[in-house]
Amino acid sequence: MVPFFKIEHLEKRFGGLAAVNNVSMTIGEGEIVGLIGPNGAGKTTLFNVITGVYAPKRGKVLLKGQDIAGLKPERICAMGIGRTFQIVKPFSSLTVLDNVLVAAYRRTASRQEATDAAMDILRFLALDEKSATLAAHLTLAQKKRLEMARALATRPIFLLLDETLAGLNHTEIDRMIETVQQVRERRGVTILAVEHVMRAVMKISDRVVVMDEGKKIAEGPPEEVVRKPEVIKAYLGDDYGSA
C-alpha cells in the first residue's frame, strides 16, 4: 500500500552546511507526529523543503505516492498540504475574516460559499467574534489561531504546524492542544508539528521524530523517545543520563 506521506533521503544544504541531512520518515493517514530537536536541528528547514520554499538537493517528498519535491509553494498547497509559520505571518491590513476568506477562495470561487466556510473555521477556532477586527490588532495567541484557521481554510489533508505554542501562556497552550486534537478528530487532518513545549508534544503526538544537526536521531512513541540516551544527550548534554 502507498503510504500517506513519505520522505526519502531528503537533503538540503546551505553553502557547505547540511541543514537537512539524509532524512527519511513515513507518516500514516490520521497520525499526529511531533517533530522535536534542539535549536538549529533543521526542523524548520525540513518544513520549508516539504512546503516548497526550498528545493531539496536530493531526495523525495511523496504525498500519497506522488513526488512533490521542488514544486512551488502554491502548487504544494493545492496538493493538500497546509502550514503555519513559526513567526506568525498574518495579512495585517485585512480583517480576520478576510484572512481566512482569501484562503477559502482557493477551494471555491463563490463568495457565499467561501464566506460560510471561513466563518465555520473561525467558529471552530473561537475567532468568530473577532471576524471584523484587523489581523494586526490581534494578540499573539489569537494570531497563532488565525494562522491555523487560514491553513485549514485551504482544506488540507496534511497540516504542518511550526511552533504553534511558542510564546503562549499555560491556559492558551491547553486550549491550543485541544484545538489540534480536534483538527484531527473532526476534520480528519494528518498533522506534523514542530514543537518545543514538551508537555504538549507528549500529550498530542502518536509518534515523535527527533532531529539533531540535520539528521533524524530517534523516532517512536513519545514516552519511549524521551528516555532514549541519544535524545537526552541531544537535549541535556553528554552524560546526563548516566550521571
Binding site: 512551488k72 495579512f91 495585517s92 485585512l94 478576510d98 482557493r106
Partner: protein, 326 residues
C-alpha cells in the same frame, strides 16, 4: 460603499460636475483637467502600487506607450483616438507582461531601480528614433497631432475645454469604481495577501507572480489610456512622457496622498498638481524651478511626518470631528 459615505461622495461628484459651469476661466478649467488626469493616472498606478504593494518607478512607460500608439494609429491609419485608446491600452498590457517577468523577481529598492531602468530605456529609444518602418517618430522633437475637421467623442475633438473636463471626470469615476471593485473582489484579496506577506500568500496557494502580473497589466492598461487622453488634450507628444522623472511624479502623487487607499491618489493630485500648474504660470520664466522646490518640500515633509500619505491624518481628523458632533 457604506451608507455614511454615499452623501459626501454624491456631493463631491455634484460639485465636480458643476465646477466648469461656475468657473468659466479656461485656464482654471485646464488646471482642473490636469488635476483629474493626474488623479486618474495615479489611481492607475495605485492598482499595482497600492493593491499589490509593488511600488513601480516605471509607470510613465505605459503612459507614453498609450500616447504614442494612439497617435500613430490616428495619423497613419486614421484610427479614431477613442479606438486607439483601447488599442494603446492593450499594447501597454502586453508589454507590461514582458517588463513584469524580470522585475517581479526583484524586491524593494531593486524592483524600483529595475522599473526605473525600463522606462529610461523606452525614453532613450524613442528619443533617438526618427523613423521606424515608414512611421515618423521624430525623435526628440516629438509629434504634433493634426486637428480633424469633425468634432466628436470618437475623434476626441471638442469645441472647448469643458468637454475634456467631463470626459476625464467620467474616466476618473470609472477607474475609482474599478479600483474599488478590484479591492473588494477575490483578486483584490489575493493582491492584499501578497502585499502583506508573500510567503504566507503562497503557502495558502496563491500564485504571487500570476496575480502581480494581472495587477500590472490592468494598471498598464489604464496608464496607457491616460496617455491617449493627454495626447489629444495637448495635441503634442514627446519622449519626455516616458521619462523616469515623470514616473516618479506619478508615484509621488499616489504616495503623498496615500498609496493603497481609494482616494489617496486623488488627494495627492489635488495637492500636488495645482502646485505645478499654478506656479508654472504665475512665476514663469526665471522662477521655473520654484514649483519643483515646493513640490520637493511637500514630499520631504510628507515622508518625514506622514509616510503613510496625507489621507491618514486627514481621515483621523475627520473621525475626531465626527465624534465631537453629537
Amino acid at each position: 460603499m457604506t451608507a455614511g459615505s454615499v452623501l459626501p461622495a454624491a456631493c463631491a461628484v455634484a460639485a465636480a460636475a458643476l465646477f466648469p459651469l461656475v468657473v468659466r476661466d479656461p485656464y482654471f478649467v485646464h488646471a482642473a483637467i490636469m488635476v483629474l488626469l493626474f488623479a486618474y493616472l495615479a489611481t492607475s498606478w495605485n492598482i499595482l502600487g497600492g493593491l499589490a504593494g509593488q511600488h513601480s518607478f516605471g509607470h510613465s512607460a505605459f503612459f507614453g506607450i498609450g500616447a504614442y500608439v494612439s497617435t500613430i494609429l490616428f495619423i497613419y491609419y486614421h484610427v479614431p483616438p477613442l479606438v486607439g485608446m483601447a488599442v494603446g491600452g492593450v499594447v501597454a498590457s502586453v508589454i507590461s507582461i514582458g517588463i513584469g517577468y524580470p522585475c517581479f523577481k526583484l524586491k524593494g529598492p531593486y524592483f524600483a531601480l529595475a522599473t526605473l531602468a525600463f522606462t529610461e530605456i523606452f525614453r532613450i529609444v524613442v528619443t533617438s528614433t526618427e523613423q521606424i518602418g515608414g512611421i515618423d517618430l521624430k525623435g526628440a522633437a516629438g509629434i504634433l497631432i493634426p486637428l480633424q475637421p469633425g468634432k466628436s467623442l470618437l475623434n476626441f475633438q471638442f469645441s472647448g475645454k469643458t468637454s475634456y473636463y467631463y470626459l476625464i471626470l467620467v474616466m476618473l469615476l470609472a477607474i475609482l469604481f474599478v479600483y474599488r471593485w478590484m479591492e473588494r473582489s477575490r483578486w483584490g484579496l489575493y493582491l492584499a495577501a501578497i502585499r502583506d506577506n508573500e510567503d504566507a500568500a503562497r503557502s495558502i496557494g496563491i500564485s504571487a507572480t500570476r496575480y502581480k502580473m494581472i495587477a500590472l497589466a490592468v494598471s498598464a492598461f489604464f496608464g496607457a489610456t491616460a496617455g491617449t487622453f493627454y495626447a489629444q488634450l495637448l495635441l503634442y507628444i514627446e519622449p519626455a512622457l516616458f521619462s523616469s522623472a515623470f514616473s516618479i511624479e506619478i508615484l509621488l502623487i499616489a504616495v503623498v496622498g496615500g498609496a493603497g487607499t481609494l482616494l489617496g491618489p486623488f488627494l495627492g493630485a489635488l495637492i500636488l498638481t495645482p502646485i505645478s500648474e499654478l506656479t508654472r504660470t504665475y512665476l514663469g520664466g526665471g522662477y521655473a524651478g520654484v514649483q519643483l522646490i515646493i513640490y520637493g518640500a511637500v514630499l520631504v515633509a510628507v515622508m518625514m511626518f506622514a509616510p503613510q500619505g496625507l489621507i491618514v491624518p486627514l481621515k483621523r481628523g475627520w473621525r475626531l470631528l465626527a465624534e465631537r458632533r453629537p
